[in-house]
Amino acid sequence: MRFQLIGVNHKSAPLEVRERLAIPESRLPDTCRDLAAYPGIEEAMVISTCNRVEIVTHTTNGAADLRGFLHEHFHLEAEELDPHLYEFREKDAVRHIFRVASSLDSMVVGEAQILGQVKEAYATARAVGAVRGQLDQLFSRAFAVAKRVRTETAVGSSSVSIASVAVELAKKIFGTLEGKTVFIVGAGKMSELAARHLMAHGCASIFVANRTYDRAIGLAQKFNGQAIKFEDLYNTCDRADIVITSTGAPHAIFRREHGEQFLARRKNRPMFFIDIAVPRDVSQDMAKLDGIFAYDIDDLQQAVSTHVADRRKEAERAEAIISSEVEKFEARISTLDVVPTIVSLQDHLETIRQAEIDRVRGRMGQLTPEQEIAIEALTRGIINKVMHTPITTLKTAAKESEATTVVDVVRRLFNLRDKDKEAAHAAAKKDEVGTRQ
């Protein structure tokens, strides 16, 4: 079990870092291929959603330089990226993947979108051949665990994503969203998603403002909306009922005086600010104004965890399920790890035995059937005796954490490398057929 995982999520990294790491869908297959070809990596997969970017790999020695890959691939400096990264290995990586698939690591715990996103990522990586035996095992199990968590706990009930929470809140303010105007300030993936949700619920028109005017035009075209020059933001903003803001500005771009100005021009009709920027775009002062309703990313998250107490209890139950599943998976994978080694060890010795018998035959000429039987019994007996201890040791080691070390030693001693890989493949395939049945 040499799983290795690296990534960022909504907890570890601000949106701006996540945005820089986000990999567009069209480029996912190439990234998977690049990863699989990277030194030390056997299998690889990339999960890229608006809340996380993660690289999951199975490595040759459990110590591939995944950070190096990220720096190279995204042309980012170590000091920019590294503080936000988390890295998991072996058992911890398995646990993390199980938690992600079960939506326990989501911003909105229990939301259902993530499982679909992981499944897509898996399908993409599989299609380009970057996922084979080990990751295949891991993710098949992760999907089963996610299903178990969903059916056995209530973590997924009343699940809603950030975007749909924004819609719910907008409805609590405006009643119907028919004919309402949306303003996107700072074109990003999440604001686009929220805007799409709002439009689907009846919002009529959309404005987009972005520091880079071209990006504003691009996004506006997607929604049949109107691009606004960033300089005109304050003059046009009051025309919107709902403002989704996610600029990378270091300070609040909407301050109290702007709020007062908007409200005066709107005759105090309320405005809803969905502030998904980190740091926030709407100042605290402005959020206090009557008629301005500003929800930042944490507020949205909080608004979602409606049944906080219930959810916590359910999440605890889900964590317990995951822990037991991680144990099971580990045990299974480790046994799988030693079985091919035992098989190839037996094959290896059998080949030697046959070769030696042939050599004896060549030297002594035709043997009588009795002699044949005697030699067969003698050599087989010796090999079995010699093999007994190593095989028992391997089988015992399979249940301990030292499995990989022991397996490595045996492989190296008997020079089993290549054969073992093939055998692992065969075993994995056999197991997959087994689980499907």
């Binding site: 929470v165 719910e168 809140l169 409805k171 609590k172 303010i173 405006f174 009643g175 119907t176 005066a264 709107r266 005759k267 105090n268 009709r269 309320p270 009557d290 008629g291 309703f293 929800y295 507020d299 909080q302 608004a303 965890s305 409606t306 049944h307 906080v308």
Partner: protein, 269 residues
């Protein structure tokens, strides 16, 4: 007989009153449906009671308790109209207690009567009573809506999880209910005051502006007008609107209470 029907109505409104208190703390669809049906049934009894009164002749209308009964009925009618348009029972939180209180007072058997024996134009008097009471009912609704607006605004600002599962309708819906009641009530109130002056002029020959009843009624009308104006001109809502609505409501109560002090508009047992 009329009083008996009114007491039946009162029993039905009691369920509405209980709903009003429960709804503040938790949401129950079933209970709001029960309250709605009970209130509708109450309105039927109430209507029968009013019809019997009407058959009794116009002077009886000027009795203070019958006036309260009529006001309660008009408020319920408003509530039902709002329910028909917005499908929300939440204004009931304010309307039900007011209606229950008015009906309760009216259903008690003491009936001071307005000194209307000198009134020569009975038609104007009836018009005055109905118009003014419609205006009052609209004011009650608008006052209720402004309180609910404040409550909902606070909830949304508090950003608590409960903001999503509150029994209250959307902020803009509450705002519309309040604004529309205000707009509807204003002409009724104005016409009610005008017909009242007509009655006064035809009875006494002049309008005594220093009489507490008239003074307070004018004050209420002025506050009402300020409310309509600020709302229309600069869209005042939330806290400021609630303060104004409270003023208007207090002025209305005072104008009502003035019946006990006024020289020209007074009750007698």
């Amino acid at each position: 007989m009329s009083l008996l029907w009114l007491r039946f109505a009162l029993a039905c409104y009691f369920i509405g009153l209980v709903y009003a208190f429960v709804a503040l703390s938790r949401t129950s669809d079933l209970f709001s449906r029960i309250a709605l049906h009970a209130a509708s049934l109450g309105m039927v009894f109430h209507f029968v009671s009013l019809v019997e009164l009407f058959l009794g002749g116009p002077v009886v209308w000027a009795s203070v308790h019958n006036g309260e009964s009529l006001l309660a009925f008009l408020s319920m009618t408003f509530f039902m109209v709002i329910y028909a348009i917005y499908k929300t029972t939440s204004p009931g939180v304010v309307v039900f207690p007011v209606v229950f209180f008015l009906t309760f007072v009216a259903a008690v058997d003491e009936q001071p009567v307005l000194l209307t024996q000198f009134v020569s134009h009975k038609g104007w008097l009836i018009a005055h009573i109905i118009l003014i009471f419609t205006g009052y009912a609209a004011l009650v609704l608008s006052f209720g809506a402004s309180l609910l607006y404040l409550l909902q605004e606070r909830r949304l600002k508090a950003k608590k999880a409960t903001s999503l599962i509150s029994f209250l309708p959307a902020l803009e819906v509450i705002d519309q209910i309040g604004y529309r009641s205000l707009l509807l009530g204003f002409p009724f109130m104005t016409l009610g005051l005008l017909t009242g002056s007509v009655v006064a002029v035809t009875t006494y020959g002049h309008v005594d502006f220093l009489d507490p009843k008239i003074l307070l009624s004018l004050l209420m009308w002025a506050v009402y007008m300020v409310m309509v104006f600020t709302r229309w001109n600069s869209g005042w809502r939330g806290r400021r609107a609630a303060v104004l609505a409270t003023f208007a409501f207090i002025a209305a109560l005072a104008a009502w209470a003035a019946n006990y002090f006024s020289a020209i508009h007074r009750f007698a047992s």
